[in-house]
Amino acid sequence: MDAILLQILNGLDKGSAYALIALGLTLIFGTLGVVNFAHGALFMLGAFCAVSLQKLMSVSKITIDPSQLDFLGKPLKVKTPYVVEWFGPKFGNAIIDWNVPLAIIVAIPVMLLVGYVMERGLIKHFYKRPHADQILVTFGLAIVIQELVKANFGANPIPTPAPDQFVGSYNVGALIGLDASYPYWRLIYFAFSATIISSVFAFLRFTTFGMVVRAGMADRETVGLLGINIDRRFTIMFGIAAAVAGLAGVMYTPINSPNYHMGMDFLVLSFVVVVVGGMGSLPGAVLAGFLLGVLESFASMNEVKGFFEMLYLPSIDQIIIYLVAIIVLLTRPRGLMGKAGVMEE
């Protein structure tokens, strides 16, 4: 039971990342009708907001310490971050340590801006173009973003740890009489995702802005005819979707060190999630994200792997996501909660 609880938590955690990215993809797709292959790159950009902030905060004053030698036998250049210089070692180091949470504050305006620029500068011109063209141009953009990040930060993963306060784990299992400790940061990641997801839903449901956008998703022309500037709202939606992806990226950095191709790693998977959830359905995307996350976690359990091996399906964890996708799409023509007529042609 402990093991199962742990895997459910793992699954929810993985699912959080999937769901956040898929949610943004669906928002963009549902509002603008654009297939955005650069969405993974936005996720990655978010993560690199945290990395950049870390770099920024570790900009250092260099003092030469003749008592220590560097690898070439020259006096060692000791680096003291200016932040530490200014705020003193205790507070300064604490700021550096809290880099990831601080990065959230940075990432929101940055990602909104990135989204805004991307939509106005590029995506706008592709509303009426075929999906194939949208794929090509956004894929090109993804490559460009990715390569620029690589040119700046290198290809290796860059460690961006969580604040010390969140190191360690919490016995979640104890709450229900089991024994299952789970890392703090992963719990926070899940809680954070849940908050973001519910905020997006609440925003769409309870604000006038959201209402108009939802109406626009259902019937763009009519809403346009009502004299509402739906375009501007859609631009804002694009910004929000970018911010959601970016925040998912920022919060993900302590879980896995970010690197320049992490967006591509998630891209295909998040498309699978969106489609399994059903095109154009926001709840579908979230549901599918968590579902696939949990199934993936279960599939990696030794017992499950062993069971499938008896059925001559070794390494079920290699293919589980795709297998589930196939089964879902064959039994439910439009995914879990898809709408008829959306991208079926």
């Binding site: 090509l136 141009v137 390569e147 040119a151 699978v272 095109m279 390494s315 196939i326 079926e344």
Partner: protein, 400 residues
């Protein structure tokens, strides 16, 4: 009986001429000059142009005509390659049985995947094909290693049975051949400062490319092709016209799968190795990009798109800083360094960046892909000529 129209015959002839003289056309710069970096006329790249051309032509029959976007086409390429290498391991190094098997296996595999995936349309179809291809890749990389040799890729070894081959006493790995003609045989023609390489393997690939192109023309112009295009524009009407669309799409899927199998087989014939990465989604994505880049639904576009991407991959990735310094060494030092620093972002390890920018440029400025670029140039040329004619008329009138 005439099988293709005059215009198509001209296109085919044009392609044939290009293919025949590719070793000359693609090597415009003298071997020792700095620009030789841009020469593409060496066997491996020319073979790749032809092979990826075949692949893209086949993909275009499915995507360009029916509009069904398969995101898993690389799986058929991979399966074709594996089949071919297995034939080299088991039977002999002759490429004919290898190619036959790769086309058949890829055909059967695409029949299976197509039969299931074509139950859905649009993006649901795309994701189904993607899922199958990714499953194939994951399994080929790990569990199926006895069959695929996993990470390393399937290679021929000295210990292979090769039951129809003469005993190998040289201690060297045998090479692929067509009834004794070795694929790697190359005649180098030295003409002044130029070295031109005529490679048997390339010409075999080129012949298959022409054949593939010819068949694709026939399909485009046939009632079958017309039905496929009708599927793309209106399935409802086609159904109420008495057409069962499923077998049509399945046939197109299998045909394009067989093209991919042929391409995979040829790839293994030119270089007897089949790697699992050939089946990864990035490889499938590359096929899609080639087709869109060149011009979806056009006859020649996909081949050009394939050439374009492969050129960047193979030529731009090799331009390193030293080469750049070589080119700009005539500049003052400071300026040279600045120029090299800027350019090195786009070449060598930055070749992906150039590719990404090119993708965006082309799709922004040439919505119909490279083919649209060509037709625009053609129109501009015509207009210019017309104008020239007029001006010459005008200039001659006063004299009269």
């Amino acid at each position: 009986m005439k099988t293709i129209s005059k215009a198509d015959m001209r296109t085919l002839f044009f392609v044939a001429i290009i293919a025949l003289f590719a070793p000359l056309i693609l090597n415009p710069f003298p071997t020792e000059s700095g620009w030789a970096q841009f020469n593409a006329g060496y066997p491996d790249l020319m073979q790749r142009f032809a092979i990826y051309g075949i692949l893209a032509i086949g993909f275009n029959i499915l995507f360009g005509l029916t509009g069904y976007l398969s995101f898993g086409h690389a799986a058929f390429l991979g399966v074709g390659s594996y089949s071919a290498v297995w034939m080299f391991k088991l039977l002999s190094m002759n490429i004919i049985p290898a190619l036959i098997l790769s086309v058949i296996v890829a055909g059967l595999f695409s029949l299976l995947i197509g039969f299931i995936s074509l139950r859905r349309s649009g993006i649901y179809f795309s994701i189904l094909t993607l899922a199958f291809a990714q499953m194939s890749f994951a399994l080929a990389y790990s569990v199926l290693t006895p069959l695929t040799n996993g990470e390393t890729g399937l290679q021929i070894t000295l210990n292979d049975p090769r039951i129809f081959a003469a005993e190998n006493i040289s201690g060297n790995l045998p090479v692929t051949s067509l009834f004794g003609m070795e694929m790697r045989d190359t005649w180098t023609m030295q003409l002044g400062a130029w070295d031109f390489q005529f490679n048997i393997g390339y010409y075999i690939c080129a012949i298959f490319l022409l054949l593939a192109f010819y068949i694709s023309i026939r399909i485009f112009r046939s009632p079958f092709g017309m039905m496929l295009r009708a599927i793309k524009t209106n399935q409802t009407r086609l159904n109420y016209t008495g057409i069962n669309t499923r077998p049509y799409t399945l046939a197109a899927f299998v045909i394009s799968g067989m093209y991919a199998g042929l391409a995979g087989g040829l790839m293994a014939s030119m270089d007897p190795l089949a790697g699992a990465e050939r089946m990864q989604w990035t490889a499938s994505g590359e096929i899609v990009l080639m087709t869109i880049l060149g011009g979806t639904g056009t006859l020649l576009g996909p081949v050009m798109g394939a050439g374009f991407i492969k050129y960047f991959e193979n030529i731009f990735s090799k331009i390193n800083d030293t080469v750049l310094h070589g080119w700009f060494s005539w500049m003052p030092d400071g300026l040279e360094n600045v120029i090299v620093w800027i350019l090195h972002l786009f070449t060598g390890k930055g070749w992906h960046l150039t590719l990404g920018i090119m993708f965006m440029m082309i799709v922004i400025f040439l919505p119909g892909g490279l083919m649209e670029g060509i037709s625009r140039i053609g129109k501009w040329w015509k207009r210019r000529n017309v104008k020239n004619d007029n001006t010459s008329h005008n200039s001659s009138t006063p004299a009269q």
